[in-house]
Symmetry: C2
């Protein structure tokens, strides 16, 4: 008897024709049934006469399935048993309490993301280094692209291309002559024939992240392109979206980011994005997270298909500080996927200090939002975490992990900004009326030498001083009434109060 874990991936593999163009001329689908669900999904052609259909069961117990398709061998049937999840398998991430996330098994998920746009397209050595860094548990979400990236620091060809064909010559590309306006001639692609190897590389990455408890925030489209993947026509785009959905949906840790910087994709219009969203809602039976990320103008995050706001800072100086405003406006989780990266490249989106990036994480998190990391240090190998992965050089990852530890101690599903003085950000449990007796007062770049607190005389509050940079939590005793807490007069301090 076949078995698979609940929220695991069950795959049916079928032999079929390899003649002609199986990607466009053949089709296969399957229906999976148990007493709790009936799910029909499309399969896909994986090359070499092999067709596959994938399924993620949401219930334990016995399942049967039937496959059908355009070729005789597509008709098949079978059964399997779904067992209890094990290890770090908590199911896909869902929205919880409007502004937060939880795994489907109700375990809270506090997002601390990172970005390695093109890590799936790097040589094995870099890939291995990336995994070693991810093993350290700094992050639990990663944003990365299906298509390769053309941009400064990104002129090398990817290890694989998504289509059959040959790419434009890259030998004359330099940082100096980089332009956003690209002539796509010189490429020779068959947009009707995918390169399955490319997608298998993506899937390997998804699984590697899954094994490490990291959500795969997959960027399906993006503008940083010299190959023409960003200017395909509607028919080509639909073929691509269907292929991606058929291949990736059954991985429980998949999130869909329709685009990175959608507003820079000049060939796409609002109706295109709504069309892809519609397709995704129809074809992904698991309702994975869906978002669309801006460069400058936000997409209208009130659209019902958008599960959470994937935001880029709008201003050099103030951005995550708007978290509470955007929660109110959009009534969805606020995820700051791009708030500048720790590094020292020339551009302002990639040269802030580890202190400043950590501060931005805290400012976002204390307001009941979530933030994303990236790293862009100049180095002789020109391997920058933000795009390639590789080795981390910065100081923020360990601090982000420390923040995550504190977030996991939240009573309930998440935080929100509570009342406070003008010079502090106060986080309280995100309940209608917080009754839990839990507050974190964060002082950011302020350097108070002490703070006074007032609590009812008949309540006891445990006080801890948190050094968010030096990653220490110091017991400051149990207090009632009016009391003063000494602080070191340094930046990046917080005080946590818990009623006992």
């Amino acid at each position: 008897m076949n078995t698979v874990e609940k929220w695991g991936l069950f795959e049916v593999s079928l032999k079929g024709p390899s003649a002609g163009n199986p990607f466009t001329e053949q089709s296969v689908s399957a229906t999976f049934r148990s007493k709790n669900e009936i799910v029909t999904v499309d399969g896909f052609y994986d090359g070499d006469g092999v067709y596959k259909v994938r399924f993620m069961p949401s219930f334990t117990g016995d399942y049967v399935y039937e496959t059908v398709g355009s070729f005789p061998e597509a008709e098949s049937a079978g059964d399997f048993t779904v067992t209890e999840p094990t290890g770090n398998n908590h199911g896909p991430v869902r929205i919880a309490n409007t502004y937060h996330f939880a795994y489907e098994d109700t375990t809270p998920y506090y997002s601390v993301g990172t970005t390695c746009y093109a890590w799936a397209h790097q040589p094995e050595e870099v890939h291995k280094q990336t995994l070693e860094e991810l093993d350290k548990g700094y992050f639990n979400k990663m944003r990365f692209c299906v298509f390769p990236k053309h941009y400064i620091h990104n002129f090398r060809d990817p290890e694989t291309f998504p289509y059959e064909g040959t790419p434009v010559d890259n030998s004359n590309l330099t940082e100096e002559n980089f332009s956003y306006f690209v002539d796509f001639s010189g490429n020779n692609w068959d947009f009707t024939r995918f390169n399955p190897e490319h997608f298998r590389r993506m899937e390997r990455c998804i699984v590697e992240l899954q094994e490490r408890g990291i959500e795969a925030d997959i960027i399906v489209m993006h503008p940083y392109d010299r190959w023409g993947f960003s200017v395909m026509n509607r028919e080509q785009d639909d073929l691509y979206w269907n292929y991606v959905i058929a291949r990736f949906s059954a991985y429980r840790n998949v999130w869909w980011s329709l685009a990175n910087e959608y507003d820079l994709m000049r060939a796409k219009k609002l109706e295109d994005w709504e069309h892809y969203a519609d397709l995704l809602c129809k074809k992904d039976p698991y309702n994975h997270m869906r978002s669309i990320h801006n460069c400058i103008p936000f997409y209208d995050h009130t659209r019902p298909w958008i599960t959470h706001c994937s935001l880029q800072r709008q201003d050099l100086y103030r951005h995550v500080e708007y978290t509470t405003d955007y929660r109110t406006r959009y009534q969805k989780p606020i995820v700051w996927d791009e708030i500048a990266y720790e590094g020292n490249i020339d551009m302002g989106w990639g040269n802030i200090s580890g202190q400043e990036l950590t501060r931005r994480f805290w400012e976002a998190s204390m307001r009941g939002g979530y933030a994303g990391h990236g790293e862009t240090f100049m180095n002789p190998e020109d391997i920058l975490w933000w795009s390639h992965g590789g080795k981390l050089h910065g100081e923020s990852p360990a601090r982000i992990r420390f923040l995550h530890e504190i977030l996991t101690q939240t009573p309930g599903l998440g935080l929100k900004q509570g009342p406070g003085a003008f010079d502090e950000t106060v986080a309280v449990p995100d309940e209608m009326i917080p009754v839990t007796g839990y507050e974190i007062h964060y002082y950011g770049f302020g350097r108070p030498s002490f703070r006074d607190f007032v609590k009812p005389a008949d309540e006891n509050w445990r006080v801890e001083v948190i050094d968010t940079w030096n990653m220490t939590i110091t017991d400051a005793g149990v207090h009632s009434g009016k009391f003063r807490i000494a602080l070191p007069g340094r930046e990046y301090m917080a005080v946590r109060l818990t009623r006992v």
Copy 2:
């Protein structure tokens, strides 16, 4: 023959009655004439049967004067000669080119201010220390109050009081029981009888600042009060305003700040402020600078009597970054008199780092605004520069002096924000079309390792790398066309380009 420098202070002293209440029952005034001006000003009673009339001549050459008054000895006449100014006497500061300042002799004045609210009321030892710090040339404007200050860290009685009478007992005041809501009973003042010694202390301070090339930004009213000076009636206020104007106007370095945090003076209404402004415009013949400083809501700085905007930050995160917006809105110089102080007290307005305060100065200055310093470090003597003066402990003053040196190198009268990338603040000369060939690119908390510039191929630009924190200016050569300037990948760097 009497002589006085142009913009110096000429004083006529008259003996008169000391019986009754000379402050309210007697009056004296004088008219000063030369071929270029005729100025009539009120005099004042200075105690001990002595009346004085003060005058600041605006022209060289021969003057005559006549005094008149309510008592027989008030009638007198005389003459004097006004000589050319010497030393650092450039005359009073005036508005220049809408957004900037220049002394009356047209020497540009680039304001770098500081605040020692109550320095005029401190013991001699502290006063001496303050002067020693001011001798170092960090600042060219100081904000300070006529009335003593009641506030945390400010419970000691001042050395002198402005009125005859006795103050409320201060022996039970502590930081813990400090309240903004004060019971003024317990004071016993005669608001019709000034204490001339108090005002002579003020004048000594004005002169000490003048000798050091520092403008005296005198705060005439303020809310931090336990004596009732902030809640006098209209008649008492008018007596006070007239006395202050008669005594201080003839000092060339006087600026009038109608109030600090006018909006916290609950006893005063809009019509009161407009009334004081009207009185000031009528009675100060020299048209010294006039402003009014907010806590939260700005006063309407478009009012014609306001010469420049004296602003306090409105937001913890973004404030001086609005300089260009406020220039546009108010069409007046933008002076950020309160943008938080370097220090480590508990409150957010007094615990930022020297780096952050210096950054705020640069952000304001590069946009064609001006900023003010203050310092609030906890210390065993409880002497904080922000209020008492004394010794400076911070790192920003030397950096502010360095910024001022750079500002004095501006071609023309001032800077404004020019076009630039999203991650830099570019300062250019404040001309309709800057033709001077002068740019400062400031990178704030960004840490670029290099920046690319493009200039016409037929122009030569001298490039200097400015480390605003380490206070160095490094020659980076002369360049044309497209060129790259290496930077250290540290915060607080700037690049200056000058066409040669």
